[in-house]
Structure formats: structure tokens, C-alpha cells
């Protein structure tokens, strides 16, 4: 078996600084309201942080490509799950005779 890849200290430090910077960026962007892009932006920053961790701290970048493939496959399935669920939740109520609101909020409405 080939030896374990040892990432140099400078690289690790650089990644660490990048992660801290991205955290700061998240905190900053949370202060400004950019409407519908609020959540996508936060997710994009979080996603790139996760990617950095996976590539360098978890050394996926230096591993055999098959490991990256499995990782990508896992991510793909999360994406599939979220996308197809959004096909439902984003269009909920398009049946016409079914209301969008939950039973709970309907009950509250009735009480008011």
C-alpha cells in the first residue's frame, strides 16, 4: 500500500484562513437583505466551506479518484432528494381544490 498523503502545514493553514474568512463573509452577508438570494448565497458559502474541508482536511484531493466518485455520488443523491421534494413543496396546492395552508393554520384562521 502506498503511504498516506501528508498535506503540508502551509496548505492546511491557508485552508484554515479561507474557512475563517468564509465564516466572516457569512456573518457579513447575513446583515444585508438581498431578497430571494439570501438563502442561496448562504448555502453557496457553506457549500464551498464543506468542499474545502472534504478536499484538503479529509484529503479527498489526494486520494484515489474512486473515492471522489463515491463522494460525488453521495452529493448527487442529496441533490436528487432535495430537487424532487421541491417539485412537490414549491408547487403544493396546484391541484386547485386543495389549499396551500396546513390544517393548523386553517384551524387558527377559523378561530379568528
Amino acid at each position: 500500500m502506498k503511504g498516506h498523503h501528508i498535506t503540508s502545514r502551509t496548505t492546511l493553514l491557508k485552508v484554515f484562513v479561507a474557512l475563517v474568512a468564509l465564516t466572516a463573509l457569512t456573518a457579513l452577508t447575513a446583515q444585508i437583505d438581498i431578497g430571494v438570494f439570501n438563502i442561496p448565497l448562504a448555502l453557496a458559502i457553506a457549500g464551498s466551506k464543506a468542499l474545502l474541508v472534504a478536499l484538503f482536511f479529509m484529503a479527498l484531493k489526494y486520494d484515489k479518484p474512486v473515492n471522489a466518485l463515491f463522494f460525488a455520488l453521495g452529493v448527487l443523491f442529496v441533490v436528487v432528494f432535495l430537487t424532487f421534494t421541491l417539485f412537490d413543496t414549491a408547487f403544493r396546492g396546484d391541484l386547485g381544490n386543495v389549499g396551500k395552508e396546513t390544517i393548523h393554520s386553517m384551524e387558527e384562521g377559523a378561530e379568528e
Partner: protein, 569 residues
């Protein structure tokens, strides 16, 4: 002419023969309970799975008995709900998901690959104990106060019912991890442990199917864990996730649940496909027609199976957009399933078919799975499902696939590999009679349910309108016939275990490595020498020559069979 050669011819082979086979070489209870031998772990699974099947079967018979006449007989609505919930939970999580991978998968995978064991034998034993713990917790939950949510644990039922639902979901969570570990283990085993010369296109189709199953287990089962965890968080910490009263979305639970559970139905059926491929090849003495098509259609089903879960939610209030998408993709699943069925039939065409018990199960499978698959496509049609959802039609559909498909395949595999596992033969006449009883009983039980469902009989009630009495009674009588058939199987297999005739190394003339390269019962380390593979898994014309090379390992009665095979090919 190339011949299978043995590498590393060492004198150790001799010593191994004196040590005895995998059953006789060590006899203490501990040598079974803590064995790292994949064959012994397979048998631990077999015993546990059989107990779960018996338990689930008793619940089923009770459910059917309640339905023998309209009105409430001996089960109140509440206890009826608990009874069918337990039936479903025990059968799905205790029996049908672990059964084939845990039992036959463990026993056969290394033998089929020409390997000594799975890649991670300790993890394998750990999987078994996790599974056992899961089953034990299910039993605890049963005693502690039962659950009435059905096997799907839908919210808001599971958010409102008694606390023992937490026990049960915990049990499912743990059993899920057993499933994930088995999947990882098998994937690595197939990639890393193949004997020299065992290329991907020489893998027996059983291996391909177990491999596809493992992919699904690893990718889907974590979502079941997450679902159960979220349910826990909601109930214990009152975080609103699924419960509308807390601001959650109950349909979201169904997304989570079916994202696991539709792929899980392929965890159930794919290994069955694998067994049937082996049976049809061996008992038709033919090379599999369209080997690669069958192998890759398993992988296709495994992946496509992830994109159809919404077909369980057509009338649950999900958006029409997603219903249409899910319905269309559901139709696509019919293609790889059809490819398989047609290839199996083409394999039998002009073959020299022998109607031994395992083959009877394989033929039953072809009929029953086709009914199950076609009814599946029918409930996948949006407008049709509006009428059929939550009726006995759906109950009929999934029992045709789970009992008519998976369970029948498991029975076929059990009979086929019985001589290899136990070294004994069973009574063939009894075997055929039982196969017939099971086939008749099964159709009587479940075809009547398809008819009732299409006439509007809803599922999950302990009562029904008098119009349905006759069909319900037929269905209950069917369950007795099926029960009698299964009881007969248990009897003659037990008799065979203690009194059965000794089997030869290759009683059916199979061409995969476990038949050609091991004794009547395999060695503790499977092969005396690592096989060097120079052929595909279904080259039946070459068995005599292969077995001749191993004659010293083959008792005389098996050699007679070899001549028989020669005549027939």
C-alpha cells in the same frame, strides 16, 4: 482447450482435508455465535430470519382469520391495527430486507468470487448482531405496548400514538445500520476479493444482483436513519418537522420515508432476480441469454429506483407537477424489469429443462413477479391510482412482488443451495408438492385481493361490507394453503437435516465455483487452493472436465451426476 488451474499447490491442501468441512471443523456453540466465517454468519442469519418469518407469518394468519367473516370477530379495531402493523414491521425489517443478502448473500458471495471470505469478516459479524439487536427491540416494543401506525410510521399517526413507537423506530434505525454495513462489506468484497481471472463479465448473475443491492443499501438506508431520527427529535423535543400542530409538514415525512423505502423494495427484489438467474441457467443447462443485459438492468433498476418514490404519494396532497414527473419515471422502471423477464424466458428456450423443486420456484417467480410488476405499473398510472390507492389492490400488488417475487426466489435458492449448505438432499416429491401448495395458496390469497381492491375494498380495516365476504373467505383459505405448504417445507427440510441422503458436491450440475470447486460442504476456507478462473459462470458443457480435475474432492455419487450432465449437454 484451457483448463481451470490451481495456483499455490501446497501440501496444506492435505491438512485442510483432514480438518473437516465448515460445519464439522469446530463444534462449540461459541464457534458458531462468534464465527467470522461468512458461511456460518450466513447460517446465523438464516435461523434468525426464519424465526422472524414464522412470527410475521403467525401475525398474518391472525389478520386473515379476523377477516374470515364480516364484523368484529376476535380483534378489536385497535388490536387489528397493531396486528397488521407488527406483521408489516417484522416481515419488512426482520425478514425480507435481510433475508437474501444476509443468508444466501453471505454464504455465497465469497464462494462465487473464488474468495476465502468477505472483505471485512468482523464487520460482517457486527452487522449480524446489530440486526439481531434490531429484531430483539421489535420484540421488546411488542411486549411493552404495541404500535398501530402500519410499517410506514406515517405522521401524524406516529407523532400521536403511544411511546412504544419510539422503541420500534429505534429498532428500525439499528437494523438499518446492519444493512448499511453489509452493503459496504459486499461492495468492497466484489471489488477487491475476486479470484484471479474472475473478471466482471465472469461474475455469476447472483453477484451482480447482490452488488446492485448493496449500492442501494449504502445510498438509501442512511435516509431511513435520518427520518427516524427526525421523528425522535420531534417527539422528544417538540421541534416542528412533520407534525402540522408544531408547524411541520406531514407529507415531508412521506418524502423522507419513501426516498428510502421505494429503493428498499429493490433491496428486497434484486437479490431475488439474482437467484432466479442462477436457477434458470442451471435447470435449463443453458448459458444465460443476454448476460450483460440482465447484469446491467439490475444496476439500472437500482439507480432508477431512486427517482420514483413519489408514486406512493399521488393522493397524499403532493403537487400535481411532482405526481406527473414521478408517474412518468415509474413507467420507465418497467423497461429493465421487462428486459429481465424476457431474457430469462429466452434462456429457457430450447434448453433442456428439468423441473426440479428449485426450478418450480423459478417458474413460479416468472409468473408471480410479472403479475406483481404489471399491477405496479397500473397503480403507477395517476388517474387509476386515485381509485386504487389504499385499497386491497395495492395490498395485492406488493404481496405479489414481495411474496411471489422475493420469498419465492428465496425458497428456490434455499432448495437449490440446501445440499451445498447442509451436505444433504431433501425429499424431492415433498419439495414439489410444497412448491405447488405455496403457488396455489399464494394466488388464492392475493389474486382475490386484487379483485376486491378494484371493487373498492379499502385496506387496513378489521371489518367489511357483506358483499366482500366470499372473496375475503377465499383469501383466508388461500393463506391456510400457503401456510400448509410452508409448514411442509419446514418439516422435510428438518428431516433432511438429520436423516437426509448425503449429497454429492454438485447434485444439480451447476457451473459456478461453489459447485465445481468445493466438496459437498465447503472447506472452512472455501477452496483448498485459490481457483484460477478461465471461464464464464454458465459454461455447462465444461463441467465434466472441470470436475474431473477435482475428482479427488468429489464423492462417487456426484460423479454419476457428471455423466448425466454429459448426456444432456
Amino acid at each position: 482447450m484451457t483448463e481451470d488451474k490451481d495456483r499455490n499447490e501446497t501440501p496444506q491442501g492435505q491438512a485442510a482435508e483432514e480438518r473437516g468441512d465448515y460445519v464439522t471443523h469446530a463444534k462449540s456453540i461459541g464457534s458458531w455465535l462468534f464465527s467470522l466465517d461468512h458461511k456460518r454468519i450466513g447460517i446465523l442469519y438464516a435461523v434468525t430470519v426464519a424465526i422472524a418469518f414464522l412470527l410475521g407469518g403467525v401475525f398474518a394468519l391472525l389478520v386473515r382469520a379476523e377477516l374470515l367473516s364480516p364484523g368484529e370477530d376476535f380483534l378489536s379495531a385497535q388490536s387489528y391495527n397493531q396486528m397488521f402493523s407488527l406483521h408489516g414491521i417484522v416481515m419488512v425489517f426482520g425478514f425480507i430486507i435481510p433475508a437474501i443478502p444476509g443468508f444466501l448473500g453471505n454464504f455465497l458471495l465469497p464462494l462465487h468470487l473464488g474468495a476465502k471470505d468477505v472483505a471485512f469478516p468482523r464487520l460482517n459479524l457486527a452487522s449480524y448482531y446489530l440486526y439481531l439487536l434490531g429484531v430483539a427491540l421489535i420484540l421488546v416494543a411488542m411486549v411493552a405496548g404495541s404500535v398501530d401506525t402500519g410499517w410506514t410510521f406515517y405522521t401524524p399517526y406516529s407523532a400521536r400514538t403511544g411511546p412504544s413507537v419510539l422503541f420500534l423506530t429505534m429498532a428500525v434505525f439499528i437494523a438499518g445500520f446492519a444493512s448499511i454495513f453489509t452493503g459496504i462489506n459486499f461492495i468492497v468484497t466484489v471489488h477487491k476479493m475476486r479470484a484471479p481471472g474472475m473478471t466482471w463479465n465472469r461474475l455469476p448473475l447472483f453477484v451482480w444482483s447482490i452488488y446492485s443491492t448493496s449500492i442501494v443499501q449504502v445510498l438509501a438506508t442512511p435516509v431511513l436513519g435520518i427520518t427516524v431520527l427526525l421523528l425522535f427529535l420531534e417527539r422528544l423535543l417538540h421541534i416542528g418537522i412533520f407534525d402540522p400542530a408544531l408547524g411541520g409538514d406531514p407529507i415531508l415525512f412521506q418524502h423522507f420515508f419513501w426516498f428510502y423505502s421505494h429503493p428498499a423494495v429493490y433491496i428486497m427484489i434484486l437479490p431475488g432476480f439474482g437467484i432466479v438467474s442462477e436457477l434458470i441457467a442451471t435447470f435449463s443447462r443453458q448459458r444465460i441469454y443476454g448476460y450483460m443485459a440482465i447484469a446491467l438492468s439490475s444496476v439500472a433498476i437500482a439507480l432508477l429506483g431512486f427517482l420514483v418514490w413519489g408514486h406512493h404519494m399521488f393522493v397524499a396532497g403532493q403537487s400535481v407537477v411532482s405526481s406527473v414527473i414521478f408517474s412518468l419515471i415509474t413507467y420507465l422502471i418497467g423497461i429493465p424489469s421487462g428486459i429481465k423477464v424476457f431474457n430469462w424466458i429466452a434462456t429457457m428456450y430450447k434448453g433442456s429443462i428439468s423441473f426440479k423443486t428449485p426450478m418450480l420456484y423459478a417458474l413460479s417467480f416468472l409468473v408471480l413477479f410479472t403479475i406483481g410488476g404489471v399491477t405496479g405499473i397500473m397503480v403507477g398510472v395517476l388517474a387509476v391510482d386515485v381509485h386504487l390507492h389504499d385499497t386491497y389492490y395495492v395490498v395485492g400488488h406488493f404481496h405479489y412482488v414481495m411474496v411471489g417475487g422475493t420469498t419465492i426466489a428465496l425458497l428456490g435458492g434455499l432448495h437449490y443451495w440446501w445440499p451445498k449448505i447442509t451436505g444433504r438432499l431433501y425429499n424431492e416429491a415433498a419439495g414439489r408438492l410444497a412448491a405447488l401448495l405455496v403457488f396455489v395458496g399464494l394466488n388464492l390469497t392475493f389474486f382475490t385481493q386484487l379483485v376486491m381492491g378494484s371493487r373498492g375494498m379499502p385496506r387496513r380495516y378489521n371489518d367489511y361490507l357483506p358483499e366482500f365476504t366470499f372473496l375475503h373467505q377465499l383469501s383466508t383459505v388461500g393463506s391456510w394453503i400457503m401456510g400448509a405448504g410452508l409448514f411442509l417445507v419446514a418439516i422435510y427440510l428438518l428431516v433432511s437435516l438429520f436423516r437426509g441422503k448425503k449429497a454429492g458436491a454438485n447434485p444439480w450440475g451447476g457451473a459456478t465455483l461453489e459447485w465445481t470447486h468445493t466438496g459437498p460442504r465447503p472447506d472452512p476456507h472455501n477452496f483448498h487452493r485459490t481457483p484460477f478462473v478461465t471461464r464464464g459462470p454458465y459454461e455447462f458443457d465444461r463441467i465434466p472436465e472441470l470436475v474431473a480435475a477435482h475428482r479427488d474432492e468429489t464423492p462417487p455419487d456426484a460423479q454419476q451426476n457428471v455423466h448425466l450432465n454429459q448426456d444432456r449437454t
